[in-house]
Every structure is written in C-alpha cells, then in structure tokens.
C-alpha cells in the first residue's frame, strides 16, 4: 500500500497546523514523522487516518483519491498514545472486537476469530493475559495489546501516534526494538509519530522532520543525521555545536581557523554559523602547527566507550558550552583532566548564514 499526500493544508482557527505538505510513503516501509510539539506531525497522522479532515489537498491510498473516504473504508490500523483499550472488555475481547463488529457477511466464524486472536496474542507474547482487564496490565503490555488489536483486522496501513510516549525509558527502549522486529516480520506499511529523535534514528526506514506545519527534510536516518538540510534539522537530531564566524568570497573564518567554503564564493563579508557534531571535533593538547580553537575543560563524562567533554571556548566563538566526544583510548592517550587547556579543530562542519546578525529576520 502506498500513501501519497499532495499539497495538504489545515488550519485550526488562526493556527496553521499543516502547510502545503507533500509526501510519499513507500509500500512496506516504516516511516517516522518527527518534530517538536506543534509541528503538525500528529495532525498529519490523523488526517491520513481519517480522524480529521484537511482544508485543502489530497490523500491517496494506492493512487486512489481517499481524501473523502470514511475511516472505515480506509482499512487503517491506529494505535493511540494512551492505548484507548476498551476498559470494560477483557484483553481477548479487545483484540477480537474489530472482527466481531463486522457485518454478518464479512464476519469470520467464532472459531476463526478465536484462532486469529490467540495467534496475535502469541505474536505479542501476551496470550497468558487474555482474560485480564486493561487496568490490570502495565503500560508496556497495554501498548502491545493495542497493537495486536489494530493488527487483528489486517489493515493495509498501520498508524501509530507517539506509541511509546506514555511509557518510561527502559520500557520504551524494549518496545522500540520489539516494534522494529515486528515490522521486519510483517512488512506492513507503517507511519509513526514521535518527538524522540533517538527513537526515529533507531527504528525508522525514513524520517520526515517537521516543524511548524512544514516538512524540513525527508531522508534515511543516516541522511538526516549526517547531511542535515538546515539548522533546524541539525539541532533537532543529535547534539550540535555552534560557532560564530564570517564568510567572504569562498572562505570562512572561525576564530583562527580558516576553511574553504566554495558554496559561498559570491558571499561578501557575511556572518555565518558553523555547525559541528561533537564527534567531529578533534581534541589535542598542542597546536601541532595548524590553527585551532583554544578551550579549557569544564566537565568530563567518562562513562562508557565514548567520553564526553564539556569545554569553554577562549575567544567567545561559541556562546554556550562546547561538547566534544572522543574515544576512550584517545582520552586515555591525552590524559585529560578538568581545567586542562586543549585545542579543538572541526573535522567536518556545515555553514549556514547567521540571519539574525545579517539583518534578516528568520
């Protein structure tokens, strides 16, 4: 099942929830809608589901215009953030519900329903809870049942609204891996909404980064993380250090550092910001003959294979703390301690014009 969104827009009163959204979901993929609250990701999901209507634009299922199709005819499965399990029914009855309410002609026999429900409960490894009620289950268990219930009616698309949002960290991690595996086994086209970038990087085939009703970037986790299209995506996915600098005719200066900036060959004395990931910062005790930025160590987090250094810059290139990530071996090699003077150099950076300083309002 492919899903296509064309020029979709929606307003709530004076608030623009979705602004000209264009998107294609490939069959069998696990697509994430990622963004901060208010970005429109949940609205987009609900429009795809049919729980909301858009003001303009189209939603196509398998190239067929389904914009006005009733929710029942869309054959979507929906998993709510707060599960929405039927509190007055047992787990078994919850999962069986979608099959039992079918019109007589399409309804499977009681035995068949029984078989399917048991199968699904075994799939989510909760068949032993079949006779319990939702309030007797933990959050993680409830979410798995909600998923089983949605799958029972064999939907063509699975939509999940912040499925792990209401769970605590450890359970969330477990369920993430579990969802990924489930998807790999079932290959059902799935779209899920989250504000947790770590989740998307771990789970999704492709990520749609959204902000204020617009799509900022679409790509694989690798693409979106390594080649962010703009500052917003940069900052939203993973940590990033910002350094102030200037760009002039194809060259950029950050403090003493000079780098080539061929994309800015036409630029005339422009204020710019360099975006550098923590793991792209080289740390050394000496200058080694090449220009670098001076800093001293404020804090060291040395737990695990990667050591995180919090640094304070000397020349005010960076208003906030600078974070560098180096390997444990490198850390031991340098024998770093709090207060030490070091020199840092970006191995890889991205430059974006500093709109606020250049007078334009972003």
């Amino acid at each position: 099942m492919t899903i296509e969104i064309h020029d979709l827009s929606k307003q709530f009163g004076s608030f623009t929830a979705l602004n000209d959204i264009n998107l294609k979901v490939n069959p069998g993929e696990l697509l994430a809608l990622l963004g901060p609250s208010g970005s429109g990701k949940t609205t987009l999901l609900r429009v795809i589901a049919g729980l909301e209507t858009a003001d303009s634009g189209q939603v196509l299922f398998n190239q067929e215009d389904s914009t006005d199709k009733h929710i029942r005819d869309r054959h979507v499965g929906f998993v709510f953030q707060h599960y929405a399990l039927f509190r007055n029914m047992t787990i078994f009855e919850n999962v069986a519900f979608g099959l039992r309410v079918r019109p007589r002609k399409q309804r499977p026999s009681a035995r068949e329903i029984n078989r399917r429900v048991t199968e699904l409960l075994q799939l989510v490894q909760l068949d032993w809870l079949a006779d319990r009620y939702p309030h007797q289950l933990s959050g993680g268990q409830r979410q798995r049942i909600a998923l089983a219930r949605a799958l029972a009616v064999e939907p063509s698309v699975l939509l999940l609204d912040e499925p792990f949002g209401a769970l605590d960290a450890k359970v969330r991690k477990e369920l993430r891996a579990w969802l990924r595996k489930l998807h790999d086994d079932m290959h059902i086209t799935s779209v899920f909404v989250t504000h947790d970038q770590e989740e998307t990087l771990e789970v999704a085939d492709r990520i749609v980064v959204m902000n204020r009703g617009r799509i900022e970037q679409i790509g694989t986790p690798d693409e979106v993380y390594e080649k962010p299209a703009n500052p917003f995506v940069y900052e939203f996915l993973g940590h990033v250090n910002l350094f102030h600098g200037r760009v002039h005719q194809g060259h950029a200066w950050i403090g003493d550092l000079e780098v080539d900036a061929p994309e800015y060959s036409e630029a005339e004395d422009l204020n710019a910001i360099a975006y550098v990931r923590p793991h792209d910062l080289e740390v050394d005790r000496t200058l080694n003959g090449e220009p670098a930025l001076a800093a001293h160590i404020v804090h060291i987090l040395a737990i695990g294979p990667v050591v995180r250094l919090e640094l304070a810059g000397k020349d005010n290139q960076s208003a906030n703390s600078i974070y560098a990530e180096i390997s444990k071996e490198r850390f031991r090699e340098l024998q770093l301690a709090r207060g030490d003077q070091v020199f840092i150099k970006p191995r890889k950076l991205d430059l974006f014009p500093n709109h606020t300083q250049n007078g334009s309002i972003h």
Binding site: F78, F80, A84, L85, P134, A152, V153
Partner: protein, 292 residues
C-alpha cells in the same frame, strides 16, 4: 571541638497545626448534629411514629385500601413511563453534548436544566394551559372524548417534565471526563455507531446511568406540586401516592395519611441507600477519567 548537645525531643502529644482544639471540634460537631437532628432526624422518625400510632392493623388497612392501591398503581405507571423516556433522552443529549463540539452547546445544557429551576406549580400550570378546555386543543380533545388534564396522561406528562434533567445531568460530565478515544478506536476498527454505543459507551457509563435513574425515579414517584395541578384529585383515578397523602390529611384522617406517607418515606430511604452505594463508583470513574 566538643559536640553541642541537642535538646532531647520529649515525646510530647502530637499537635497538628491545622486542627482546632478538641473541645472546639466537639462543640462544632454537637452543634451540627443538633441542627441535623432537629431538621432531618426528627421529621423522619415522626413519619413512622405517626403512621403506627394506632398499631399495625390500622396501618396495613390504610395502605391496602382500594384507593391507596390505585394510587400506588398510578405512581408506578407514571414512573415506569417517565424514567425510561428520560433515560433515552439523557443518553441522546449526553452523546451530542459530550462527544461533539458545536456552537450553542452551553445554551443547550442550560435549557436542559430549565425544569429544575421552574416551580412545580408552574410546571403543572403550563400543561393545563396547553391541554385544558380553554386551550385551542381542548375542545378537539373533548370532542374525541380524550382527556389529558385531570386524567392519567396529564399526570404522566407533568412527571416527565419535572424529571427531564436528572439523567442527562449525571451523564454529561461523566462522558466528558471519559473522552472519546475508545469510541474513536472502535470506529477505526470498523464498528458502526450503534455497536460503539452499545459495546463501548454504555458499559463505561453504567454507574452514572444507575445513579441518574435512581434519582429520576425518586422524583418521579414523589412529585407533588406539578401533579397536583393537573390531577383533578379524583379519588381512585387520578391520585398518585403523594396526592393521596394530601387527600387523607385534608380529611383529618391523619393516621392513614401518615401510613401512606411512610411508604414514600421508605422509598426515600431506599433511594438514599442505593444512591450512597453507587455514588462512590461514579466518583471513581470520573476521577479516573480518560486514562485508567
């Protein structure tokens, strides 16, 4: 440096800072209980005492006498019609108001409260104005030998009027607190409206339904003012229990009046018991709300 000795904490009586002194407390309790005894307990005890003043035999005779039985029958009929109708109304109104957003919603909610704020006598009067002889329907009814006022239908209508809000007022906040996610989930899974209502919504509100029905029934069986106006006071025909009480009393047949009244008082007590039992359940549901 020698340690500074800390003062020993003596095991003093635990003084709660946010509590009055015990004697102040007991005075307030006694004051409150005296007020309640005077205004509540005394009348309650008096009903039964007066009813049994002349002994059990007179009591039983009074409540099994044909006019009394007819009154019981009429009371039950009125309640048996008013309560189910208002139940359906309550569910429909709560469905529209709690599950949807539309303009004029708060006006509708206030309109439902109207019968509460109207004097029972006025409630009866307006039905007399519509169906009485001097109204424009009146002559037509008379021609066809139908009577609404001063007959059973009028009593039923007046009873329905005064009990309209009871169930709706219970269900609306309850359903609002529960939200619509379960219903949305049911629709996505393919259920139609009636299946959703029957399998999902109604079971979730069952305690609220019960509570509202108990209150509605108590009022329906006990209504006096409105029914008095439309009834015509025809013994054995258009008297409910509460009207029968009045008739007996006005004839100075005090013991019989209190005997019949004691039945109604018993009904009130049963209502209170059931109400208390169900109340706890409803509060539980409303507070758990949308996320159990």
């Amino acid at each position: 440096m020698t340690a500074i000795p800390l003062p020993q904490a003596s095991p003093a009586p635990h003084k709660v800072v946010t509590q009055e002194s015990p004697w102040a407390r007991w005075i307030l309790i006694l004051l409150a209980l005296s007020f309640l005894s005077l205004f509540l307990l005394l009348p309650l005890v008096a009903v039964f005492f007066e009813a049994l003043r002349k002994g059990w035999e007179v009591y039983l005779a009074a409540i099994t006498e044909p006019d009394a039985l007819a009154a019981i029958r009429l009371t039950l009929i009125a309640a048996a019609i008013a309560v189910p109708l208002n139940l359906i109304f309550g569910i429909a109104a709560a469905w529209a108001i709690a599950k949807f957003e539309f303009r004029g919603k708060s006006i509708l909610t206030s309109l439902i409260d109207l019968p509460f704020s109207v004097s029972p006598v006025v409630a009866g009067l307006i039905y007399v104005l519509i169906f009485g002889l001097q109204s424009w329907i009146g002559p037509w009814l008379r021609e066809h030998d139908l009577s609404i006022i001063f007959a059973v239908p009028g009593i039923v209508l007046a009873t329905i009027f005064v009990t309209v809000p009871f169930i709706a007022r219970e269900l609306i906040p309850l359903m609002q607190a529960q939200g619509s996610e379960e219903e949305e989930a049911a629709i996505i899974l393919g259920a139609n409206g009636w299946q959703t209502l029957w399998y999902i919504t109604l079971p979730n509100i069952k305690w609220g339904l019960l509570y509202g029905t108990i209150l509605c029934n108590a009022r329906a069986m006990g209504e006096f003012g409105a029914v008095s106006v439309v009834s015509g006071h025809i013994r054995g025909l258009t008297n409910t229990l509460s009207l029968h009480v009045e008739i007996l009393y006005n004839e100075y047949n005090f013991v019989a009046a209190f005997a019949v009244a004691s039945l109604l008082a018993l009904l009130a007590l049963i209502t209170l018991v059931l109400k208390t039992l169900v109340e706890a359940r409803v509060a539980q549901q409303t507070s758990r709300g949308n996320h159990p």
